[in-house]
C-alpha cells in the first residue's frame, strides 16, 4: 500500500506540463522531465500536454495508487491558478493535499523569456528547488470557519440595489450602506437610459422602494464605513451614521418643514441638480429620494451658525421629527461577506481648459444636461441656455478626459452611447441642430449600433475629429454671441469652425477620489488607474484577492447599467454560494510555537498585527491563538531562536528551496569551468 502520512522515504512524482505550446514552445519540457528523473527521491517523472485536464490529473492519481507516491510536484502554471486543482486531485487519490507543491514555469518562465536555453535552465532550477522542498512537507488539516450569513453592501447605486435585492430575496440579511442621503446613485440623476430610452426613474424607483420596504434589508443612508476587521465569513464592521438632524423613523417626507423654513427663497446650490438650481438648508435631494426623509445642511442652516433662528421648521413638524441636537450614531455589525459597489465619479471638465468649462456659462457637462432634460430637474425638463433661451444649435464633444494622454488613457465606454442619447433628447426637446464631435464611435452592445443608425436618420450631425478649442472669439458675423467649436474634420480633411449656442462635454468616468481609502479599509487592490482590482480579469471578475470581499459595477471600471446589473447579480451569486456552503476552508498556513526551543523572549508578541500571540506566565513561553493567526509569517522571521513554525512555509522548506535554486547554479558553474579548463 502507499504511504500517505509521509513518514518514511519520500517517493516523489514529478509532472511537467506542456500547456499546449504555452510552455513547450519556450521550455524544453522533455529535458526538464529527464533532469527531474535524476534527482534524489524522484520515483517517476513525466511530461504531459495538459496536466490540469482530467487525463492529466488521473495520471497523477494512478501513479499515487500504483507507485505509492507520497509527494507530488507539478511544473506548470502559477499556483494562484491551479494549485487548488492539483491539491484536490492528490486528495482524491488518498494523499494529504499538502504533500503537493507547484512550480510556476509558465507565468514566471515561458511567457516572460525569449531564450529557450536559459528558460529551460531556469525551469530546471525551479524544479530542483521544489523537489528539495517537498521532502520537508507535512500532512496538514484544513481549517474550516463558519460563514456569517449577513452581508454588507457598500454603495446604493444600481449595482448595490440589485445585489441587495437578490440576496435579500434569497432570505439573507443585507446591510446596505450609502454615503449620500438617498440611494439611487448616478442612475437616479438620469432622465432616459440608452438604447431603449426607458425612463430611468420608472425602472429605478420601484427597486429603490423595494429596498426600503424589504424585511431583509437594513438600509443606512447618509452613513459611512469607518473600520473593517476580521476575515472571510467573520467581518466586524463599524459604521458611522451621520446626523441628518431629523429622526428617520418619525419623518414621513411631507416636506412641510421645507416650506416653513425661515428662508423663503432657496439660495444654496443643489448638489443633486449639479448646482444648476438652489435648495434650502433643509431639503430632500429629489422627489423620489429613498428614504423619503428630509435632512439639514449644518453648513448653511442659520441655527447651526448663530443659534438664533426662530426654528419655524420645528414648529411645522407635527410628528416632532426634527432634532437639531442629533449626534452621529455608531453601529457595529458582524457580516460574513461584503460587496463593494461604490461606483465612479465623472471627470472634472475644468482640467481640460481648452473646452472652456467654467469659463463660458453655456458649456455644460453631460451630467448637467442629464438634469436639464429631466422633468424633475432644475428647469423642469426645458433645455435652455443660461440666459433662458432655447438653443438653436448644440455641440456634443466626445472623449472629454477619456482617451487623452493628458487626462485618462482609458475609454470610458459609456460616453458614445450617452452622447447619442443626449443628442436625441436635446433634438426632441428643442429641435436644435446637434453636432457630435467624436474620435471613434464605439457602440458595441445589444441594440447599441442600431441606436446609432437611428440617430443618423434623425439628422444628428457627426463630425470625426478631436475638438481643439471652444472659443467665444468670433471671426465672422455668424459666430457673434455664440461659442465656436474649432475642430479638424478628419473625414473631409479641413479645419472647421462650428458656431453653437450650447456645448455639452461628454465627460469620462474615473475612480472615486477616496477609492484608495476604501480599498485599504477592505484590504483589496487597485489597478494603476485606481479602479478596484478583480481577482482575475476574465474568470473572477467580481472576486478580489481578499476572500469574502466582492466588487460590482463601475468601481471596478467604466460600465453601463446592464453591465453593472449583471455584475451585481454575479457578486450576489458569489456571496450566496459562500453562505449556502455555510463554512469556508482556509489555508492551514498558520504559525505555531515549538515550546521546546521558545526562550520566552517575547519578541514575537508586539510584532503580530492580529494580537494572536500571548505569553503564558506559567510555562514562560509564547502561545499562538490559531483562530486569530492569518498566516503572514512575520513572527516566524522575527523569532531569534527559530522556535516558531509556519505551516507550508517552514524554515526548512524555504532553505531547501534556496539551496535547490542555487545548487543548480553551482552545477552550471562547474560545467562552465570544465569547459574553460
Amino acid at each position: 500500500m502507499f504511504n500517505s502520512n509521509g513518514n518514511g522515504t519520500p517517493k516523489i512524482g514529478f509532472y511537467v506540463c506542456h500547456c499546449g505550446h504555452n510552455i513547450a514552445s519556450m521550455v524544453d519540457v522533455e529535458e526538464v522531465q529527464k533532469f527531474a528523473s535524476t534527482l534524489p527521491g524522484v520515483v517517476v517523472s513525466r511530461d504531459y500536454k495538459y496536466m490540469c485536464s482530467d487525463p492529466g490529473q488521473e495520471l497523477i492519481q494512478k501513479d499515487i495508487k500504483e507507485l505509492g507516491l507520497n509527494r507530488i510536484v507539478v511544473a506548470s502554471c502559477s499556483p494562484l491558478l491551479h494549485e487548488h486543482t492539483f491539491r484536490v486531485a492528490a486528495e482524491k487519490a488518498g494523499l494529504n493535499p499538502y504533500y503537493f507543491h507547484m512550480v510556476n514555469i509558465r507565468e514566471s518562465v515561458s511567457w516572460v523569456h525569449t531564450d529557450k536555453l536559459s528558460a529551460t535552465q531556469k525551469a530546471k532550477a525551479l524544479t530542483r528547488a521544489a523537489i528539495q522542498r517537498v521532502f520537508f512537507h507535512k500532512p496538514l488539516e484544513k481549517k474550516s470557519v463558519p460563514v456569517n450569513p449577513d452581508v454588507l453592501i457598500v454603495g446604493g447605486g444600481i449595482s448595490g440595489i440589485t445585489a441587495a435585492l437578490t440576496i435579500a430575496n434569497a432570505g439573507k440579511h443585507v446591510y446596505l450602506v450609502e454615503r449620500e442621503p438617498t440611494i439611487g446613485g448616478h442612475m437616479a440623476m438620469f432622465d432616459k437610459t440608452f438604447p431603449t430610452l426607458d425612463c430611468a426613474a420608472c425602472i429605478l424607483t420601484p427597486k429603490m422602494s423595494a429596498v426600503k420596504s424589504h424585511p431583509n434589508i437594513t438600509l443606512w443612508t447618509y452613513s459611512e464605513v469607518e473600520k473593517v476587521e476580521g476575515f472571510v465569513g467573520n467581518y466586524k464592521v463599524n459604521i458611522k451614521r451621520k446626523p441628518r438632524y431629523v429622526i428617520e423613523e418619525l419623518c414621513v417626507g411631507c416636506m412641510e418643514c421645507i416650506d416653513a423654513c425661515i428662508y423663503k427663497e432657496a439660495k444654496y446650490p443643489d448638489e443633486f441638480n449639479q448646482k444648476l438650481s438652489k435648495r434650502k438648508p433643509i431639503y430632500i435631494p429629489f422627489p423620489q429620494a429613498t428614504p423619503q426623509v428630509v435632512l439639514f445642511d449644518p453648513e448653511t442652516c442659520i441655527d447651526f451658525k448663530s443659534h438664533r433662528c426662530k426654528k419655524t421648521c420645528i414648529e411645522s413638524c407635527d410628528r416632532k421629527a426634527i432634532d437639531l441636537k442629533q449626534v452621529p450614531e455608531y453601529k457595529e455589525i458582524n457580516v460574513g461577506t461584503v460587496i463593494l459597489t461604490t461606483g465612479f465619479k465623472t471627470y472634472d471638465a475644468e482640467l481640460s481648459p481648452q473646452y472652456g468649462y467654467g469659463k463660458y456659462p453655456n458649456v455644460y457637462t453631460s451630467l448637467e444636461v442629464e438634469r436639464l432634460v429631466n422633468a424633475s430637474g432644475p428647469t423642469a425638463g426645458e433645455v435652455v441656455t443660461k440666459d433662458g433661451k432655447k438653443p438653436k444649435s448644440v455641440g456634443i464633444i466626445h472623449c472629454v478626459g477619456s482617451r487623452d494622454q493628458k487626462a485618462h488613457k482609458w475609454c470610458s465606454k459609456v460616453c458614445c452611447m450617452y452622447s447619442l442619447k443626449l443628442a436625441h433628447l436635446i433634438k426632441e426637446h428643442t429641435g436644435a441642430q446637434v453636432y457630435n464631435f467624436y474620435i471613434d464611435m464605439r457602440t458595441p452592445g445589444k441594440g447599441y449600433e442600431e441606436f446609432y443608425d437611428k440617430l443618423m436618420t434623425e439628422g444628428v450631425h457627426f463630425v470625426r475629429g478631436r475638438v481643439s478649442e471652444v472659443t467665444d472669439w468670433a471671426l465672422v458675423p455668424e459666430e457673434e454671441n455664440k461659442l465656436t467649436i474649432r475642430v479638424e474634420d478628419t473625414l473631409i480633411g479641413v479645419v472647421r469652425r462650428v458656431p453653437v449656442d450650447m456645448v455639452v462635454l461628454a465627460v469620462g468616468l474615473e475612480p472615486r477620489v477616496d477609492a484608495g481609502d476604501i480599498r485599504r479599509m477592505f484590504n483589496i487592490s487597485c489597478s494603476n488607474e485606481g479602479w478596484f482590482l478583480e481577482r482575475h480579469p476574465k474568470l473572477a471578475p467580481v472576486s478580489t484577492f481578499t476572500d469574502g470581499i466582492f466588487i460590482a459595477g463601475a468601481c471596478q471600471g467604466p460600465k453601463d447599467i446592464p453591465d453593472s446589473v449583471a455584475q451585481a447579480g454575479a457578486a450576489a451569486a458569489e456571496v450566496l454560494s459562500l453562505i449556502s456552503a455555510g463554512s469556508i476552508e482556509l489555508e492551514p498556513n498558520t504559525a505555531s510555537i515549538n515550546e521546546k526551543f521558545c526562550s520566552g523572549c517575547k519578541s514575537c508578541i508586539p510584532i503580530c498585527p492580529y494580537s494572536a500571540i500571548s505569553f503564558n506566565d506559567g510555562t514562560q513561553k509564547a502561545v499562538i491563538n490559531e483562530a486569530l493567526c492569518k498566516g503572514c509569517g512575520t513572527c516566524v522571521a522575527a523569532c531569534p531562536s527559530g522556535s516558531i513554525i509556519q505551516n507550508l512555509f517552514e524554515d526548512d522548506q524555504i532553505f531547501s528551496e534556496i539551496d535547490g535554486l542555487l545548487k543548480f547554479a553551482d552545477i552550471e558553474l562547474e560545467e562552465m569551468e570544465a569547459e574553460h579548463a
Partner: protein, 176 residues
C-alpha cells in the same frame, strides 16, 4: 590557490548573475503573474520563491542565499499601507535597513540586496526592476561567496596546520 583568485576576478562577457527573489503572495507574486499574462519580456536571472508576506523573509534566508552563491537577493512586497496583513512590509523594511548595513560591512555591494514595493497591478514594474537589477549586477560581476569560502578554507587550512581539527568556514557557517 593564486590561480583560483585570478580566475575569480577574471571579467567574463557571458557572466549571468544569479538572483534569488522573495515575492509576497498578494502583491508582487500576483504582479509577476500579470507580467507573464501580459507577455512582458525580462531577463531570466531571477528565480522567485513565493511567500505569503514580505514580513516572512527571515534575514537568514538572505544570508543563506548569498552564502549559497546568489549574486543578488530581491524582495518584493506590497506598497506601504497596502500590506494584506496590515504591516508585514514595514517589518520587512526595518529588517532590510539593518541587514543592508550589515551586508555592506561584509563587503556585499548595496545593489546586490534590493527591496521593492510592487503592487498586484504593476506587472511592468516587475520587468523594469528585474532588468535593472540584472544590468547592475552584470557590471559588478560575480560575488561567488561559496568560492571565496573555499579559498578562505584553504588559507585557514594552511594557517592552522599545526592546530588539531580545524573547522572549515563552511562548517562554521552552518552553525550560524
Amino acid at each position: 590557490m593564486n590561480s583560483k583568485k585570478w580566475r575569480l576576478n577574471m571579467p567574463d562577457k557571458n557572466y549571468e548573475p544569479k538572483i534569488v527573489a522573495f515575492f509576497c503572495n498578494w502583491c508582487t507574486y500576483t504582479a509577476s503573474d500579470l507580467a507573464g499574462v501580459s507577455r512582458l519580456k525580462y531577463a531570466p536571472n531571477v528565480k522567485v520563491i513565493r511567500i505569503m508576506c514580505s514580513g516572512r523573509v527571515d534575514p537568514q534566508f538572505i544570508l543563506q542565499a548569498f552564502a549559497s552563491g546568489a549574486d543578488g537577493v530581491l524582495i518584493g512586497g506590497c506598497h506601504p499601507g497596502d500590506c494584506h496583513y496590515s504591516e508585514g512590509n514595514y517589518k520587512m523594511l526595518r529588517r532590510f535597513r539593518l541587514l543592508k548595513r550589515m551586508l555592506h560591512s561584509l563587503g556585499i555591494d548595496d545593489e546586490r540586496f534590493r527591496l521593492e514595493w510592487i503592487s498586484a497591478s504593476e506587472g511592468e514594474k516587475v520587468k523594469t526592476v528585474i532588468n535593472d537589477m540584472v544590468e547592475k549586477l552584470k557590471v559588478l560581476g560575480p560575488l561567488s561567496i561559496p568560492k571565496q569560502i573555499n579559498i578562505l578554507d584553504e588559507e585557514l587550512k594552511e594557517i592552522s596546520e599545526e592546530h588539531s581539527e580545524p573547522l572549515t568556514a563552511r562548517e562554521e557557517l552552518s552553525h550560524v
